[in-house]
């Protein structure tokens, strides 16, 4: 261990100099917003298949990673984005920063996980859906019933006990908002959010934070997605993951090659690997929805019926209305401070 540390310090100092291209080994720079363990497992699988390629992975949250790709447009540093929300990838695509490529196994991937365009830019890796993290211990203390549906959250009994991310800074929040607009319709959706707003104690920036706050007892209900809830349960938090009865807004995490990639050939190899069944089997250990429909694995403590509850969503329409939804949200809830808990 100590030796690793010394080696690391030496490597740290050595890296003051620009890294010279290694003649023996090829390198591939991957940006990823997947779950850290999932990203590392996928990379390990790739390196086992292609030992001549060394993957340099930069892991970060969805939006900062895309902001970085946009900022680096003059001389792209990333070769491939291995996992980011499709809606965020589309923001990069709209700026012409992504390269169309049809990975080797593209046609075997379940249709919903494909880009669908004649020249596909992204390939689905997994999908995540909005859900509720509910702290049973704090709820029992305050005698608060578990919600069963989204509509329940408008009940004044939850006043001050709900946190959610702001759709202005979190893709997870946009999932939920798009879900509500799909379930309740345009007018009904905003009416619901007006009532929900009366109960929300805090709009944050991170999609996983509401679940962490529920796990720490700082809130009773966190509108988030399942993975951070599952992790909290595995750590011992009194969390129940509730998938509301009306259905769940959801989104795909996908891979896309960066236009101008310095290691294009290897980026394509990576895209091919991601399209393989083997890679999908790795991803399925972390999220139940993977690129192959017939892989049925349920991660430990993951709610079983997530897949069944996914809403039928019109992604093209939602992408087109993204700015308008954000503006409307800011107008309604960005200006006034919600009531204190």
């Amino acid at each position: 261990m100590f030796r690793t540390f010394i080696a690391a310090a030496v490597a740290g100092i050595a890296s003051f100099a620009p890294i010279a291209a290694d003649a023996q080994q090829r390198t591939l720079t991957v940006y990823s917003s997947l779950d850290e363990d999932q990203a590392k497992a996928l990379i390990k699988g790739f390196e086992a298949k292609h030992p001549q390629v060394k993957v340099n992975a930069i892991l970060g949250s969805t939006a900062p990673i895309i902001a970085r790709v946009i900022a680096e447009a003059a001389a792209p540093q990333a070769d491939i984005i291995m996992g980011n929300a499709v809606s965020a990838l589309m923001a990069a695509d709209a700026r012409g920063l992504l390269l169309a490529y049809k990975p080797a196994q593209y046609d075997k991937v379940s249709p919903v996980m494909r880009d669908g365009r004649a020249e596909p830019v992204w390939l689905g890796i997994d999908a995540w859906a909005s859900s509720i993290c509910f702290n049973t211990v704090e709820a029992a203390k305050k005698n608060i019933p578990a919600p069963k549906s989204w509509a329940d959250l408008a009940n004044p009994v939850y006043k001050g006990h709900i946190t959610m991310p702001s759709p202005l800074s979190s893709g997870t929040a946009l999932l939920a908002v798009n879900g509500w607009l799909t379930i309740f319709g345009e007018k009904g959706g905003w009416d619901f959010m007006d009532k929900l707003h009366e109960n929300v104690s805090k709009y944050g920036h991170s999609g996983s934070a509401p679940c962490r706050q529920a796990a720490a007892g700082e809130t009773i209900i966190g509108i988030s997605y399942a993975t951070p809830g599952v992790k909290a349960i595995n750590e011992g938090a009194p969390i129940q993951i509730i998938l509301p009865s009306e259905g769940l807004g959801w989104e795909i995490e996908a891979a896309a090659i960066v236009k101008g990639a310095k290691n294009l050939a290897d980026a394509k190899l990576m895209a091919d690997w991601i399209s393989s069944r083997e890679a999908a089997e790795i991803s399925a250990k972390y999220l139940p929805i993977s690129a192959y429909d017939d892989i049925q694995v349920l991660p430990k403590n993951y709610p079983a019926d997530e897949k069944a509850k996914l809403l039928k969503m019109d992604f093209a329409k939602l992408a087109a209305s993204r700015e308008a939804v954000m503006a409307e949200w800011q107008k309604r809830y960005g200006t006034k401070v919600p009531p204190k808990s």
Partner: protein, 566 residues
């Protein structure tokens, strides 16, 4: 004050006598600062005047931003909460700095270290500490009298905690030096202790007080981390920039907010300029170092006060460290080292610590050199007035720029293939440069403050001794400035250990630092391990601070001339 006699007249600095050097040196510093801070920041902020395709649109983005709902509320919150936090911070930091520099109460060195703790801890620790103490499950939530932590209360509490060490550093640097002869004169005139404080101490620390207040105000005004963790739904301008740039990828509107956030820094610069114009050297060649007298009543009262402040600082950080030792806060409070054990299984985390140490060492070395040089040029007005004033202005910019703006600006600037420095992209060197730029303002002000107090007779002594550049540096300036050098290096080092916001856009797989690893752990819901890693970073920083303090003490001990003989 004898310093006044030499304040007028041309500056004569021993080894910068040639006209050429007197222009070249400040020019060089302006160029370095421009490349490291100003041009990258401008590369982002210029977008405030462009549309997405890079066409000039004048003030259209500002108009668009002005019509955003909620702006007035956010601006008002930013202005008032920053003012409140500044008042509280200075109110606590001034007596604290006074106590550790001007009294003979016991434990002054210890208290100095404790005051620096907030600087040594990654911001995650105080955030956890405050939540564990005052959040909905907090042990002391009753102290908030029914108010929620999440909102203005949390923002002000956390801001005071965060800004306190900066204020103590600037104020104690200002209070540490003085001329004992003035106090003796005051006493001969039968001025009582209170009167001596009001008529001598307070006016002579005025510059430090103004600097500290403006730095604290700007720091709080531009900080994004605090309102995003404990701000609840209280909007401030600094979070707007995150929503615009990161949430909506709207770099143009984000740049508008970035420009607006510069406003308090411009004000601070003007205030500083006015204050510095009236500042005269406090220590002349004939000065006698301050020898605090023993005043049991005052010393006891201040000791009690420092004890309370120290308890608050240690309480907040200690609570977070406690959180790293329990199994799962707040539902399983069994103590153990399992979070640390799980952390140490991962080689990547070790590499991150090695990178952090290399980054911190590089930042300390480069930053100290540059800050001393620019501080010296400003304090001694070397070169044309416009150039000197310009340098001072440039040095004030970084403190007002959120890390997000600096980091993205770095990408825009250095990642441009046309930039001759493009090769730096992806190296640890670019992280060093960025971190030096990010934390430049406070060390620069520390250097200016220290050099303003040493009057030019010391320069003249060097000249009279016909000391060449090398020997004047080694035999006169280095010894006199050694304690300040150590303090500045320490400041850069510990900040580099904990900084995140700018680096998330610049790190690579090879240069990922520990503070970024902590953020990854939080995002992966490994809260206990994140707290454990943050605690490890703090332990390393405390180690560095202890080295810094003992080095400083050793220097002062070795330099007998600082004490009054006989």
């Amino acid at each position: 004050m004898s310093g006044a006699t030499v304040a007028a007249g041309p500056t004569r600095v021993p080894f910068i006598s040639g006209r050429g050097t007197r222009i070249l040196l400040p020019l060089l510093l302006v160029a370095v600062l421009s490349a490291a801070a100003i041009l990258p920041i401008a590369a982002l902020l210029v977008r405030a005047f462009l549309d997405r395709d890079g066409r000039f649109v004048g003030l259209a983005n500002f108009v668009r931003y002005a019509t955003e709902p909620g702006l007035a509320v956010a601006a008002w919150n930013s202005l008032t909460l920053s003012a409140l936090a500044t008042l509280l911070t200075i109110g606590l930091a001034y007596p604290f700095a006074y106590a550790i520099t001007r009294t003979r109460m016991p434990g002054r060195g210890m208290f100095r270290l404790i005051a620096l703790l907030p600087l040594l801890a990654p911001s995650l620790l105080p955030a956890f500490g405050l939540v564990y103490l005052f959040g909905n499950q907090g042990w002391l939530r009753g102290w908030l009298m029914g108010e929620s932590l999440y909102g203005p209360v949390g923002i002000v509490l956390a801001s005071v905690f965060y800004a306190f060490p900066h204020a103590v550093l600037i104020l104690s640097a200002g209070l540490a030096a003085g001329d004992q002869r003035i106090y003796e004169a005051a006493r001969a005139l039968r001025a009582g202790p209170w009167r001596r404080f009001v008529t001598v101490t307070l006016p002579s620390s005025r510059y430090a007080l103004i600097s500290a207040a403006s730095i604290v105000y700007v720091l709080v005004f531009t900080d994004f981390g605090i309102p995003s963790v404990v701000g609840g739904s209280t909007n401030v301008l600094a979070t707007d920039i995150y929503k615009l740039v990161i949430g909506r990828f709207d770099f143009e509107m984000g740049a508008v907010v970035g420009v607006l956030l510069l406003a308090p820094a411009v004000a601070a610069y003007l205030v500083d300029w006015l204050a510095r114009r009236s500042q005269r050297a406090m220590i002349s060649g004939r000065s006698v170092p301050i020898a605090p007298e023993r005043m049991p009543g005052r010393d006891l009262a201040l000791f009690g006060f420092c004890l309370l402040v120290a308890a608050a600082v240690i309480g907040i950080i200690g609570m977070a460290v406690y959180g790293s030792l329990v199994r799962f806060w707040p539902y399983n409070l069994n103590l153990g080292l399992h979070n640390y054990a799980r952390l140490l299984e991962d080689d990547d985390e070790f590499r991150a610590i090695g990178n952090s140490l290399a980054l911190a060492a590089g930042t300390a070395a480069l930053g100290t050199l540059l800050a001393m040089l620019s501080g010296w040029i400003v304090a001694r007005r070397i070169g044309p007035a416009a150039l000197v004033q310009g340098l001072q202005g440039l040095a004030m910019v970084p403190v007002a720029v959120p890390g997000l703006v600096l980091g993205l600006g770095y990408v825009f600037f250095f990642n441009d293939p046309a930039n001759p420095l493009h090769a730096l992209q992806g190296t640890l060197a670019i992280l060093v440069l960025c971190t030096v730029a990010h934390f430049y303002t406070v060390p620069h002000l520390m250097a200016v403050g220290e050099l303003l107090r040493l009057d030019r007779e010391i320069d003249m002594a060097a000249q009279a001794l016909r000391a060449g550049p090398a020997s004047a540096g080694r035999r006169i300036f280095l010894p006199v400035l050694a304690p300040t050098l150590v303090d500045i290096a320490g400041y850069f080092f510990v900040n580099a250990m904990t900084t995140v916001s700018a680096l998330i856009f610049l790190f690579t797989a090879q240069t990922r630092v520990a503070a970024i690893a902590v953020i990854n752990l939080v995002e992966g819901s490994r809260i206990g391990q994140a707290a454990a890693f943050a605690t490890l970073i703090m332990a390393l920083s405390i180690g560095a601070a202890l080295i810094q303090i003992s080095l400083r003490a050793a220097i002062l001990r070795a330099q007998r001339w600082r004490r009054r003989e006989g």
